[in-house]
Symmetry: none
Subunit: 174 residues, 4 copies
Amino acid sequence: MIAEKAGVNKALIYYYFKDKNDIVKSLFDTAIEKLHKRISLDGKIGPYENFQDKIRGVLDFLDDKKKILSVMLMESLKGDDQNNYFFQCAESVIRHSTNACLESGKDNGSSAQEMQRYLVHEFFTGFIPIIAFSVFQDKWTDYFHCNPDQLKEYFIDEFVATHLAGQGPPGANP
Amino acid sequence: MIAEKAGVNKALIYYYFKDKNDIVKSLFDTAIEKLHKRISLDGKIGPYENFQDKIRGVLDFLDDKKKILSVMLMESLKGDDQNNYFFQCAESVIRHSTNACLESGKDNGSSAQEMQRYLVHEFFTGFIPIIAFSVFQDKWTDYFHCNPDQLKEYFIDEFVATHLAGQGPPGANP
Amino acid sequence: MIAEKAGVNKALIYYYFKDKNDIVKSLFDTAIEKLHKRISLDGKIGPYENFQDKIRGVLDFLDDKKKILSVMLMESLKGDDQNNYFFQCAESVIRHSTNACLESGKDNGSSAQEMQRYLVHEFFTGFIPIIAFSVFQDKWTDYFHCNPDQLKEYFIDEFVATHLAGQGPPGANP
Amino acid sequence: MIAEKAGVNKALIYYYFKDKNDIVKSLFDTAIEKLHKRISLDGKIGPYENFQDKIRGVLDFLDDKKKILSVMLMESLKGDDQNNYFFQCAESVIRHSTNACLESGKDNGSSAQEMQRYLVHEFFTGFIPIIAFSVFQDKWTDYFHCNPDQLKEYFIDEFVATHLAGQGPPGANP
DNA sequence: TATGAATGAGTGTTCATTCAT
DNA sequence: GATGAATGAACACTCATTCAT
């Protein structure tokens, strides 16, 4: 498909990429890079009036990335790969958005333990639900025959209500 | 692979199953059935001292189901299937555990809208994080080189703190 | 299919028949036997008012045998079998109908050459067109979108006009 | 088998052909194309001294096509196909040879009914016996232990005697 | 006789990759 | 850089047959 879309011979792909995995990796790299750009930009344009609007923005941004996110998720679930791009992505997004949020890259005295707990919080109750919504929203409206816009509003409400109830970044607010 | 592991001829598989899809379906059915049994049992032995213990129990129960859950998740992500087993599973688990929780199957006067909102809540901030933890815990400890037991405690803390902050089942609280 | 229709286990078939070929053979034998019965009967009830009616009768008789005739034809075309049932069938039908026609089984002084020539005539301009009509009539009406009854009349006309123009049985008419 | 005979990898076949059906189609197309070329050529070199010689020529030409003709016949007998190549072949051969025979492609005022009757005649008492002879001659000499050349002469005699006795092309004879 | 379970040997097809030029 | 041709290894599945009881 890639060769066809690029209008070149299939064999030529092996001139630029080592193998299929290498293509996927490069796709992932591009996607992660875009996320980073968006996050640093996010730090500059914020603070948002409210958290709802911020999440809405993130969701809109992710909407045309849901395909590659699905693939990333599946690749990481297969588990036969050494370099877990999904985790790499999650980690860098969490660290970047935290920094952007705290507006400082400097060490803020948090312990490794606090950091771990924070990562667990952000990954399982923040990153994962957001990604899940992105990749599942279409299937959800199909399965439950419901309105996409209302689904999004419900999700944002519930996400904000739950996620913000958890702990903030280490060393942020006393 | 299945035939090989079972030490039988490949063709024998087609004596017991119609086709590949039939195998997958039967695997899913078995898994879902186990979940249901566990949930009804859960209703009987409850109420727990605290929610933490309940989640710990669920996590332990899911631990040897993580493989099939991964497959279910991936199949649903591929999206070329008509019958989304992952959603079926999620829906039935949520409905069953809600009934078990409310200790009544009778109509409690909740509107379809309230139910949708509740489903969204339970799916994206309850079911999804739990499943994600089950299928990702090993990869997490590998990736972040951390202690599995501590990871589980962190997760349970954060899960309870966030998930319970959201809305309860429709018609539950007066 | 046979086992299913007979309401027995597939393996039981191998108790009564050596192999698949043996089943087919027995099917052929039954079909050929039916043809013979019909031919001797034919000898008794004839002579027909005209040849047209006789052919019409043969065609009607063959109509529910077209499936097995197709199979016989195909088996003989495959050619990897030693005992060509299609030829056996053709030969016995031709010899029987000749005898029935001449009303005698006795040697009528015809040479082997005359017999060969007669067999060639009967097979290629008699037996083959008749069989071809039986197995192809449905496909023909499908393909040319024409009326089955008219097709049959056209065929009978043309068959009689051509076939009877050829030579008769050896030693029949001087 | 094809890959093996060609001394190449099985997968290579799928580089040149879409699927199994595509292979068969291309085989049929090639055969039909050859028939057409031969027919138009036939129109140019005729008229023959006598019809016997013409049939002899056709039979010689078909001799190395008997394998593909068998397959075409069998495929059409199986009947699970939508595009009946055997009928397509027969129709185009009959129409072409009729045109070549009449030396004009122009409308000669024949009705659809006359055409149908002519097609029936040509197919069942012309095309079919000729094809049958091609595909069965070897099996016949095997079965009846007779001389191939004499068989051919017998067939030609009987074919000409019978087939020409039927009706000519519509609009041919005034 | 009769059956459930099992099997070897295919068939048609795809996939990721490589080779020779 | 770029291509057409080629390949090994698998996959999903069927078929005719056999085994053990």
